[in-house]
């Protein structure tokens, strides 16, 4: 295991995603979601590596309209855009979503920053998570790792029934990550660097 800082998580994640040609802003959104997950005691690293892999194989999509069970929406990449879109247009979005914990991170971020009440439901219309007053509450009985058909919408009133929801707790501890996975992320990030040219060295104090 290796202990890393949040700054390192952010910068290595977005660079790694840039190395597989993911748009700058999506890569940075993903890095912010990864950081948010870590800050809330959740894992992110394996999922980010998998997302990069699936994106290259074209087995996930960033299209909100053309997602399928076999090619679901990449919540790690598009999650924040999706919650902004649903919130701004006050619509219900439905579709297949991959690894929805990144969508939960996006919901958590927009709740903290813009206090928007959102609700995420599964195919059976069970509540997976909802945001309320800067916080996100998650149904601890449901798995968020698998691909699922989901509904995301804003709400004015929510009936929580008897389901037990828990909020993520802020994690203040040092983050320890699998060092092999971390090295893989870093080596992907390294792909975004450029060998220094002689012209750029000139006048730069060499």
């Amino acid at each position: 295991m290796i202990s890393v800082s949040l700054n390192e998580i952010y910068s290595e994640t977005y660079k790694a995603l840039r190395s597989v040609n993911i748009e700058w802003s999506l890569a940075k959104d993903s890095a912010n979601k990864a950081k948010w997950l870590v800050q809330h005691g959740q894992n992110f690293l394996g999922s980010i590596l998998k997302t990069a892999d699936l994106y290259q194989k074209k087995e996930i999509t960033i299209s909100i309209n053309e997602n399928t069970n076999k090619k679901p929406l990449a919540s790690a990449l598009i999650g924040l855009l999706l919650v902004e879109y649903v919130s701004a247009n006050k619509i219900t979005w439905e579709g297949y979503i991959d690894n929805s914990k990144f969508l939960l991170a996006a919901m958590g971020i927009i709740a903290e920053e813009q206090q928007i009440n959102l609700i995420l439901e599964n195919e059976q219309k069970e509540i997976i998570a909802f945001t309320k007053e800067k916080k996100i509450y998650v149904n601890s009985n449901l798995d968020t790792k698998v691909t699922s058909y989901s509904y995301l919408k804003t709400y004015d009133y929510i009936e929580e029934k008897n389901t037990k929801f828990t909020s993520f707790k802020k994690n203040k501890e040092v983050t320890n990550l699998n060092d092999k996975c971390w090295e893989r992320l870093k080596s992907m990030a390294f792909e975004t660097y450029v060998p220094e040219s002689e012209t750029s060295k000139s006048g730069a104090g060499y």
């Binding site: 855009l81 879109y85 660097y193 750029s200």
Partner: protein, 567 residues
């Protein structure tokens, strides 16, 4: 108090200068340190904290090799600077971040390290970026002795002689840092985790503290080595020379992307500076004491400009003109009269502004805000900014186009099809992961360029947005055109934070990265900018700053534009 009834004396709000005036690189590259600079704030905070700085451990041998710990006791916490001094050859001593060996390596540490921690630090500090660092470390840094001055000063002191004032002034420091890393770099503590540490949660406080303690160490070291070398014959460096020594720093492109990547923060810094200027321009009357203070600061600035020597031809010319501008101002017969009028600072500035350079204008602005710390307190204490991860959802296509029309006219005016507006590109180099500039037509790697082509992105956004329904939400645009998210987010931030964008083409042929560096360094509190090319500069931090044993004194934070009287 130098200025009485401040609030009642402000019966008008002088308009703040517009972003289109301020956010140009030639002006940003003319900024000087001011009351708002972080070095100045650190001294205030150290004083408020009743700080006690002392050598806690000293294991340095006669040749200057070994380790030391400097302890800083604050009101509620203890920090320490852990130092290792190494033996390196002269030819290994380079300023640049690409170096592999240094005379000294440092880390600002939470508390005092125990034996195991010190052992870990000894293995990792020496290799800096290649080491693995931990969350008790707040910074990571290194420095080299100044080859121009260190040995000379040591020799002089060892034979009982004070070094030449000219030498001290020409160089200004005994050691020069080549990097001071903070905020989570290489595993050290994240800035966001300093919440709850009132002393540390201001931007760059840990970095500035590191440099201040390095300055203290460098002075202790030279006095120690002089004594070891000269024995009873030796003397310690005189107080006034000691005070004129800061810490050198060599800064290159590594610093430049910060101002592009941290829009909210750069807005906050510059908006606060402009607010400070507008407040002092709104002052109706100045009492005699304050008038004299301002005139004294101009005299001080004049002497400083005479002692500011650089090799760079362009900067030399600027300094020459600065010097003649200040002389002209000081010799002007209207000077005292101007400061006696209503709204004296505004009048003073307007009287001279058309005949003086940007360098002089911005030096005057630093001078004008200097006598009024009580008027700036809220600004000084509010130099941080929260950076949002999401994009505000209430904007439509029409709104975005309106903001672009109002705030990004500078970008629209640039003909981005011209080769000179596509002259260079920014990238991260494989060597030490530092940002670099490549030449578009010459160098490989443009496909990996950093997204600093703001003007180009604005034009691309306008082309797309013009084809979309005006009431479509920005969120819908971005989800269908993720390639526009970066620029739409920037535009929306700029709506409420108009000083968040440098208004020049950052990939154009005319762009001088040194201007970006200087802007940031002025907020750090740097003095004696000494450009070595358009890409890197040497500077001095804490020159003239109070020494640790003076922090308790009254008006101790009064060290704008330091100079030596006998040079």
């Amino acid at each position: 108090m130098s200025f009485q009834n401040t609030t009642s004396n402000l019966d008008y709000n002088h308009p703040i200068r517009s972003p289109s005036t301020v956010m140009k690189l030639d002006r940003l590259g003319s900024f000087h340190q001011s009351r708002l600079s972080f070095t100045r704030r650190l001294i205030d905070d150290l004083k408020y904290q009743k700080s006690k700085i002392e050598i806690y451990q000293w294991d340095i041998d006669n040749s200057g090799i070994g380790s030391a710990i400097i302890k800083l006791a604050l009101k509620k916490e203890t920090l320490s600077l852990v130092i290792f001094c190494h033996s390196i050859n002269d030819e290994e001593r380079t300023d640049r971040v690409i170096a592999e060996k240094w005379d000294m390596t440092f880390s600002l540490f939470k508390g005092i390290p125990n034996k195991n921690e010190l052992n870990q630090l000894s293995k990792n500090l020496i290799i800096q970026e290649s080491g693995r660092h931990n969350s008790k470390q707040l910074t990571l840094s290194r420095a080299n002795k100044s080859q121009r001055i260190f040995e000379k000063v040591l020799n002089d002191l060892s034979i009982g002689k004070q070094p030449s004032e000219k030498l001290i002034n020409d160089v200004g420091y005994l050691v020069r840092t080549t990097a001071v890393y903070g905020n989570g770099k290489f595993g050290i503590e994240d800035f966001s985790k300093t919440n709850g540490h009132i002393f540390l949660q201001k931007p760059f406080q840990a970095e500035m503290l590191t440099v201040y303690l390095v300055r203290y160490f460098s002075i202790e070291l030279i006095n120690f080595l002089a004594k070891k070398k000269g024995g009873k014959k030796s003397v310690i460096l005189s107080k006034h020379l000691t005070k004129h020594l800061g810490v050198g720093n060599a800064t290159g492109l590594g610093m430049a992307p910060f101002l592009v990547n941290h829009q909210e923060l750069i807005h906050q810094w510059i908006y606060n500076r402009e607010t400070a200027i507008s407040r002092v321009f709104s002052i109706k009357r100045l009492n005699k004491k304050t008038q004299n203070k301002i005139i004294n600061y101009i005299h001080q600035a004049f002497k400083y400009s005479l002692q500011w020597k650089v090799d760079d031809k362009l900067q030399s010319k600027k300094i020459e003109k600065l010097n003649s501008d200040l002389k002209k101002i000081l010799q002007n017969e209207e000077l005292t009269k101007l400061l006696n009028f209503d709204y004296p600072i505004k009048r003073f500035f307007n009287f001279f502004k058309d005949d003086i350079t940007l360098e002089t204008q911005e030096m005057l602005n630093s001078i004008f805000i200097e006598p009024f710390p009580e008027l700036l307190e809220d600004l000084i204490n509010n130099m941080g900014a929260e950076e949002k991860k999401s994009v505000f959802i209430s904007y439509t296509v029409n709104d975005i186009l309106d903001i672009i029309k109002d705030n990004f006219n500078w970008a629209i005016k640039i003909d981005t099809s011209k080769p000179e507006e596509n002259y260079c590109f920014w990238y991260t180099s494989q060597t030490k992961l530092e940002p670099r500039l490549g030449i578009t037509k010459k160098d490989a790697g443009i496909e990996k360029q950093l997204p600093f082509d703001i003007a180009h992105q604005i034009k691309q956004a306008v082309n797309t947005l013009n084809k979309l329904p005006s009431n479509m939400t920005a969120a819908e645009v971005m989800i269908n055109h993720p390639e526009l998210r970066n620029i739409i987010k920037r535009v929306i931030i700029n709506k409420s934070m108009p000083y968040s964008e440098i208004q020049n083409n950052l990939i154009g042929k005319d762009m001088r990265p040194i201007d970006i560096l200087r802007c940031k360094l002025s907020f750090f509190g740097a003095s004696k900018f000494d450009p070595k090319s358009n890409l890197w500069t040497r500077i001095t931090l804490f020159q003239g700053a109070p020494l640790p044993n003076e922090l308790w004194k009254k008006n101790i934070n009064d060290w704008l534009f330091p100079n030596l009287s006998n040079v």
